[in-house]
């Protein structure tokens, strides 16, 4: 992810794993307390009827009915993200996502967006390491119209320098806004770069500035032709729609596009077994509140053994979600060395995933002491395990999230989309509550012991750069990696 560490910016916030193309609509998904790879249904309720189709040209369609409001959420997810970029072209997947709004031969620039606006629709797009997604939220009867537009821009994009170059300035401003203006985000970027020794996950999704500055129209078109195709995409429709009707629409629109021959299977450089604990310190004159953040390299849902990611989900909850979690109790309440502390895990990566722990120190407490206190909590879980009571409490909360999710069609659409991008199936999503319910205390202890090994981790300190602050220097505003180059 690297793009945003929203969760550590507040106490009970959400871990956003994507870079959205437009700031305005981010709230759509932030609202939902997002648990990756989460649930479709609680085991004790009748399952939602989720339909899953595959058309002849390879495109998949998932339909999640929710007939309460006359609205549909239509999303298309491409199995391509920042991790698929050629080295030296970081930021390209996200740049292309922006450029997909620049028009086709059939629908010139701005036409799609103005029609969506005229429908009263909302739209946006997002890019992660592993996927790029586009969505519209529109009245149910407009579903076919937006499918038609989306199918058109799957292969029909037309780009000129006149639209590409200003948009490159836009993504540079986006980088300024997300990263350069935000010391915590900069720390996250440095941690990712140090954690992933070989995987492209070490590069920021938004891109390194010096490489973003060199991205061209030709780069974008080449990337587009390589990855945008029906046999590399999944369409999710949630809301007021009949599944057979959605299927018919999909056949008439997406179904007409030829599959891409020679689409290569997703295969990125993999991480070697990590051998050394790493630590780094980022000094920034604007830091008024230091931070300790550690990320461990752990399995994702796709790469984990059966039951392993579920145990990691429960572990993250017991260890670091809410004010009765182990970290919060020990570091913030019982012997206060921190003003906040927690842990989170995102199982949805296609390759290796991250398990992260963070703490904001209380006044006068050093980051070293805070880290030692966090280490003691982690060691206690690995050595002494967790109680059945803790497990039950966490499991009920996680499973309840599955039911709450059903109240929000956009959340449901996002869960299914993300699951299918990360190598899971519709059935995996639907069985999520059952799988969580099956987790035992012994499994939680096992995964803590196996994966929360410091040698698998990077510990980052965010501190105030007193020298630069005192001297009023300006170099801190340029990322170290960019070599001071500014446009």
């Amino acid at each position: 992810m690297g793009a945003i560490h929203a969760r550590i910016q507040g106490f009970r916030q959400v871990n956003l794993t994507s870079v959205f193309s437009r700031a305005i609509a981010v709230t759509l998904f932030v609202a939902a307390g997002f648990v990756p790879l989460s649930p479709a249904t609680a085991a004790d309720k009748p399952a939602l009827t989720v339909s899953h189709f595959k058309l002849d040209n390879g495109i998949e369609l998932v339909v999640i009915p929710d007939r309460r409001a006359p609205v549909v959420t239509h999303m298309i997810w491409y199995k391509v993200g920042a991790a698929d970029e050629t080295p030296g072209k970081s930021g390209l997947a996200h740049f292309l996502e922006h450029l997909l709004f620049k028009g086709t031969a059939k629908n010139p620039a701005g036409h799609f967006s103005s029609v969506v606006a005229r429908m009263g629709g909302q739209e946006n797009a997002f890019t992660s390491n592993d996927y790029t997604g586009y969505y519209q939220r529109v009245p149910g009867e407009k579903l076919k119209a937006v499918m038609d537009f989306e199918a058109d821009r799957m292969t029909g994009l037309v780009l000129t320098d006149a639209v590409v170059l200003p948009e490159r300035d836009v993504i540079l401003e986006e980088r300024n806004q997300r990263m350069e203006n935000n010391p915590r985000a900069r720390l996250g970027e440095q941690i990712d770069a140090a954690l992933f020794l070989n995987s492209p996950y070490g590069r920021p999704i938004i891109g390194w500035r010096h490489e973003m500055e060199g991205l061209t129209r030709e780069d974008a078109i080449a990337f587009y032709k390589r990855f945008y195709a029906p046999n590399n995409a999944v369409v999710i429709v949630a809301g007021d729609v009949d599944p057979q009707q959605a299927l018919t629409f999909a056949r008439e629109t997406y179904g007409q596009i030829k599959p891409l021959a020679g689409l290569l299977p997703r295969s990125r450089p993999q991480e070697p077994p990590p051998a050394a604990a790493r630590s780094l310190t980022l000094a920034d004159p604007r830091v008024e509140q230091p931070l300790m953040q550690r990320s461990y390299l752990v399995p994702s849902f796709r790469l984990g053994k059966a039951g392993e990611t579920e145990a990691l989900e429960v572990l993250a909850h017991v260890l670091g979600t809410g004010s009765n979690s182990r970290l919060y109790r020990a570091l913030v309440v019982d012997k206060p060395v921190a003003v906040s502390a927690g842990a989170y895990y995102d199982s949805s990566a296609y390759d290796m995933a991250k398990f992260s722990v963070y703490g904001v120190p209380a006044r006068g407490v050093s980051l070293t002491d805070l880290e030692a206190a966090a280490d003691a909590v982690i060691a206690a879980v690995a050595e002494g395990g967790v109680t059945d009571d803790e497990i039950e409490r966490s499991k009920s909360r996680l499973i309840a999230d599955a039911i709450y999710a059903q109240d929000n069609q956009a959340t449901m659409a996002r869960w299914y989309g993300q699951a299918l991008m990360s190598g899971a199936t519709v059935e995996d999503v639907q069985k999520w509550p059952e799988r969580i319910r099956a987790v035992t205390a012994a499994q939680v202890q096992d995964v803590a012991r196996a994966w929360l090994d410091k040698r698998r981790s990077v510990t980052g300190y965010l501190v105030k750069d007193e020298t630069a602050a005192a001297a009023g220097k300006a170099e801190q505003v340029v990322p170290a990696s960019a070599g001071g180059k500014r446009s």
Binding site: I24, R67, G121, Q177, Q289
Partner: protein, 441 residues
């Protein structure tokens, strides 16, 4: 732009009625056995209950020297109540996956509750405890206070907060609206536990209480739960009078130096009250200038054509005794002056010429069509119902809304554009913008 309240004009509820028969939603006015009023929407699809409620008296009820009191109350209400200390209270919430949240805005103290149907008695009981017997134990208060101070300290170098603070304190120098709801590094340390108790005593009462419930629940059960949660509160609140707010600083530009690569601009001026007959026209005109997703004039001019910013937007904001339009963007230092001049020129052009007929028609379509999107989850519906009640729009507002939008003529839009955008603007900038200095003109 965190500080700009998303100004969805009374986005509300009844819109669903009649739009699609299968999805019809009906609002009932209910009165609990103890006489507390609420609006109810029965929704059986998902086995949960969502409630939104508001007490009059947000941060305007804070002592001037103790701004942040309402916010600190909101952050500590779930830290123990009655016999339950913080740990026990949190434990009860977590075991039943009960979501209680509290927040203070300038004029209101809001709360929301979400619970699975099976656990609703427990949830409303915990809410009763939190509202009527909050403990405010010293250790919990100090812990939460440390978190607030930590966040405020971070704000001191965050350009968004710097620009926003400068805007509000200049716009309302002698009024509670000018102070941040979360308080300041000076005020938050001085808030005593007695102040928190006093705030709770003065504000949490049954008059000036607005409630909306959505879920798999009937009127009788809803009334009983309302009484359980709110029935033991005092009948009358004890609010201090709040002076009328007067907007100041129009025509000024204030630049605060902060060492960031991207300058943040906050701009705004006098708006139009929610109860004003011109409100709907203002809402439409505002949408054309700076609202919506990718369609506004500001978006096209600042982002699309020139690549000056990742985002730029502008919305209407209204309080009990003030109405504003406010917007913002963030842009590189060497082109901040250019971005600001475009924003000012577009605002002026809108005031002078108003929208075109095409723009007006497109905006009407959008605002009508997008309405159901704000009503597609139980929590959203509950929240919107509360806003409709607070804005006094009437239980049939959702039915009437489309006609109200359609009734706005091009002449109305032009006249109101002038009224809305024809006055001066207060601009604050945080960063190191090249060639842009503070001014009083």
């Amino acid at each position: 732009m965190k500080r700009v309240i998303a100004a969805v004009a009374g986005a509300a509820v009844v819109a669903l009625v009649g739009m699609t028969p299968a999805a019809a939603v009906t609002i009932e006015k209910i009165v609990s056995p103890k006489g507390i009023k609420a609006w109810l929407v029965r929704e059986k699809t998902v086995p949960l209950v969502a409630m939104s409620y508001a007490f009059a008296g947000g941060s305007v009820q804070d002592d001037a020297a103790k701004s942040g009191t309402a916010n600190l109350v909101a952050s500590t209400l779930d830290e123990g109540a009655g016999e339950l200390d913080s740990k026990a209270f949190q434990d009860r919430l977590e075991r039943r996956a009960i979501e209680l949240s509290f927040s203070a805005t300038r004029d209101q103290f809001y709360g929301s509750l979400r619970v699975l149907n099976d656990n609703r008695d427990e949830a409303f009981d915990l809410l009763r405890l939190a509202l009527s017997q909050p403990r405010f134990d010293a250790d919990a208060v100090e812990r939460v206070r440390a978190q607030q101070i930590s966040a405020l300290r971070r704000d001191t170098t965050n350009p968004n907060n710097i620009a926003s603070r400068a805007w509000w304190s200049t716009a309302f120098p002698d009024h509670p609206y000018g102070r941040e709801t979360k308080g300041s590094l000076d005020s938050v340390p001085s808030i005593a536990i007695a102040d928190l108790r006093d705030y709770a005593r003065r504000v949490f009462a049954r008059n000036d209480l607005t409630i909306s419930i959505v879920g798999d629940i009937d009127a009788k059960a809803a009334g009983d739960l309302i009484d359980k949660a709110f029935g033991s509160l005092p009948e009358k609140n004890d609010l201090r009078p709040v002076p009328e707010a007067k907007l100041a600083g129009l025509g000024r530009r204030i630049v605060t130096e902060v060492d960031v690569p991207q300058a943040v601009i906050t701009f705004g001026g006098a708006g139009i009250q929610r109860s004003d007959p011109d409100f709907m026209a203002a809402y439409i005109v505002n949408h054309i200038l700076g609202g919506g997703t990718f369609s506004s004039r500001l978006y096209k001019e600042v982002r699309e054509k020139r690549g000056l910013a990742y985002g730029v937007s502008e919305s209407l904001v209204w309080f009990k005794s003030a109405a504003l339009y406010m917007g913002g963007t963030a842009t590189r230092a060497d082109r901040t002056a250019e971005a600001l001049s475009i924003i000012e020129a577009e605002t002026k052009r809108m005031a002078e010429e108003g929208p075109t007929a095409d723009e007006l028609a497109a905006a009407k379509d959008y605002l009508k069509g997008a309405y159901p999107l704000s009503l597609d989850t139980s929590s959203k519906i509950a929240g919107q119902l509360t806003q409709i009640q607070l804005d006094n729009l009437g239980i049939d507002y959702i039915d009437r809304r489309a006609a109200m939008i359609d009734a706005v003529t091009l002449a109305d839009a032009k006249r109101v554009a002038k009224r809305l955008f024809g006055g001066g603007m207060l601009v604050t900038v945080a960063g190191r913008p090249k060639g842009l200095a503070s001014s009083t003109q």
